[in-house]
Amino acid sequence: MHYWQVFGTLKWGVICESMAMAYLHGAERNVERATIGRRASEAEIDLLCLLAPRQGGPA
């Protein structure tokens, strides 16, 4: 279960980054592709919650 949560979260982060790359390299010039790269940080915080939970904080 934990493995698949990590895997799925990481995958979402990689998808966000690759959509932003598609924009930056001119493949898809639209504003939605351009901004989705900034949603990779959502995957980042979720991965930290899964892999390095803070003591006393929410897992």
Binding site: A34, T35, R38, S41, I45, L51
Partner: protein, 132 residues
């Protein structure tokens, strides 16, 4: 020195126009993209106001953590190398708190409304920032 309005004021004006005037008159994907565009301007506004202090603090932590000098990008590259080589991991003193701080600072700019971010921030005892 430029006159007013400031970059922040101009960006706020354009974001407001896109969100409140343009988007409601548009349809389908074009309306959606107008709202995405307004959100993108909000990201830029938050980055302009928050990133300078956050990045200065990040560089300072990295210099201490790595015992090295360099630009923020160089220091981050070095950190990646040390993690990839196994020289540093989550047990390394200070690394996990550093990664958490970096990520929370990123979310404060990118997605302050993101559910996980709000939950973590709500549980944080020390910092009382006013971004919501």
């Amino acid at each position: 020195m430029q006159d007013t309005p400031s970059p922040d004021d101009l960006l706020a004006a354009v974001a407001g126009y896109l969100r409140e005037q343009a988007a409601p008159q548009l349809q389908g994907q074009t309306a959606f993209h107008a709202r995405v565009a307004a959100n993108a301007l909000d990201v830029v506004r938050r980055q302009l106001s928050l990133a300078p202090a956050a990045e200065a603090a990040e560089a300072e932590r990295l210099r201490a953590l790595l015992g090295a000098q360099g630009s923020l990008e160089e220091l981050n590259r070095l950190l990646c190398q040390r993690i990839a080589s196994g020289a540093m991991d989550l047990q390394s003193p200070g690394l996990a708190p550093h990664l958490w701080r970096v990520t929370l600072d990123k979310l404060a700019v990118d997605q302050p409304g993101y559910d996980s971010y709000r939950r973590v921030r709500a549980a944080e005892p020390t910092r009382q920032d006013k971004d919501t």
